[in-house]
Symmetry: C2
Subunit: 247 residues, 2 copies
């Protein structure tokens, strides 16, 4: 069975998330339908990151198998044609033949997320649904400094959704960087894998630091509490982007 | 009568354009309604640039008069509150008291537009409706070189919509720059004022150069023809942004 890897961009707003769910639109189902439309085959698409409702992707990766070979460019163009006709907010950036042991989820060595905060008084018009709007001025440097307490191998129970299905709450956070670009604050997070809601939980907590309510020491204490109740508010999905997966 | 200047960002997609039109949603009408909702006054809003249907703004400027004074920040916040409740894709970036001889349209010394082309094989998902998608590779350097033939004071009849109401087709184009940033081509145009559809006509013509169909000499010949029929295709509205107005 030839295996294909696809790289995917999507606007998360119309979807209940990556994963197929009965009665709700999902990115996975939309692409599976497009695959069926061009190939006639019903496949299960496996994605690298199960993004939540409203979360965007600039570089999601997925794989699937077909019973016969196709030119990779044909796969990309046929999927885009079917997704476009269906009015989906999904674009296939690239398709490639993949080795049969390639697994979009389990072969991933690193996942990279970006979280965008629009930090100005006025709400977003052009980036509505694409950023978290925070009207109050945030101190990005203080946020960055506090973030460094979270980098490394830790028990991230505090920053994990109660629905998280991961076996262990221990993860290694390789990077958590906060920087200001004019009116926008960008938070970049990288790890081999993340717990459910981990990035949004980290961002919500760092926002408390940015507004001066929490210190870096408070963030460290929250981490060490290993208690979901110690977490700051979870940041909303609209600012989050899965930007790249490394293999 | 106290006069106010407002700076405005909007997503052009839901609107038939800046200007009020019977039976169709316009940016002007949406803001006039918000002004009436907070102040109780029916005003006519005057904008610096009458953007077409689907054209966006990062820095449109407009003015209006109220019979009594308000704190400028209150005007901004009240307008944003009413626009938000009405579900409009419009944000008031700032409001300021303006001298009574300030006219958003006639006092403008320069208008700056940006045109965004997404130049890649795959269609946009996140920037759908915000860029012109051109799948075929364009030569941005050749476009920039040809664009320089258009800079300066010329009769722009070729690049003017037949509906244009300007008295003279002679305008001074101060800047027309084309540059590539990864998958995106940005075209920046500046002038004291533009003819109707001028930027989109210039961009559509430069695209012919980018794909190798026209040379810089062909562009110059089109300009010198002073004939609308000599123009390349008009670029679609979704890539165009009014980014700034200088006074």
């Amino acid at each position: 069975m030839p295996r294909f890897r696809i790289d995917i961009e999507y606007d998360g707003r119309p979807y209940a998330g990556w994963q197929r769910q009965a009665g709700q639109p999902s990115v996975q189902e939309a692409i599976e339908k497009a695959i069926a439309a061009f190939s006639g085959e019903e496949v299960t698409l496996r994605g690298a990151g199960r993004t939540d409702a409203g979360v965007h992707a600039l570089g999601q990766v997925a794989h699937f198998d077909l019973s016969r070979g196709w030119k990779a460019d044909t796969v990309r163009d046929a999927l885009n044609a079917h997704l476009g006709m269906a009015g989906e907010m999904i674009s296939i950036l690239g398709a490639a033949a993949a080795p049969e042991d390639f697994d979009a989820r389990f072969s991933a060595k690193a996942r990279h997320y970006l979280y965008r905060i629009l930090n100005r008084r006025s709400p977003p018009a052009l980036d509505h649904g694409k950023v978290w709007h925070v009207a109050r001025r945030l101190d990005a440097e203080a946020m960055h400094e506090a973030a460094q307490r979270l980098v490394g191998r830790h028990d991230f129970t505090t920053f994990r959704s109660v629905q998280c299905q991961a076996k262990s709450p221990v993860k290694t956070l390789d990077r958590l960087e906060v920087s200001r670009l004019g009116e926008e604050i960008e938070i970049r997070a990288s790890a081999r894998s993340f717990l459910h809601n981990q990035v949004r939980s980290l961002v919500g907590t760092l926002k408390k630091v940015g507004e001066g309510a929490w210190t870096a020491a408070d963030v460290q204490a929250a981490l060490e509490a290993r208690d979901r109740a110690a977490c700051g508010p979870v940041a909303p999905p609209e600012g989050l982007y899965l930007i790249r997966v490394d293999y």
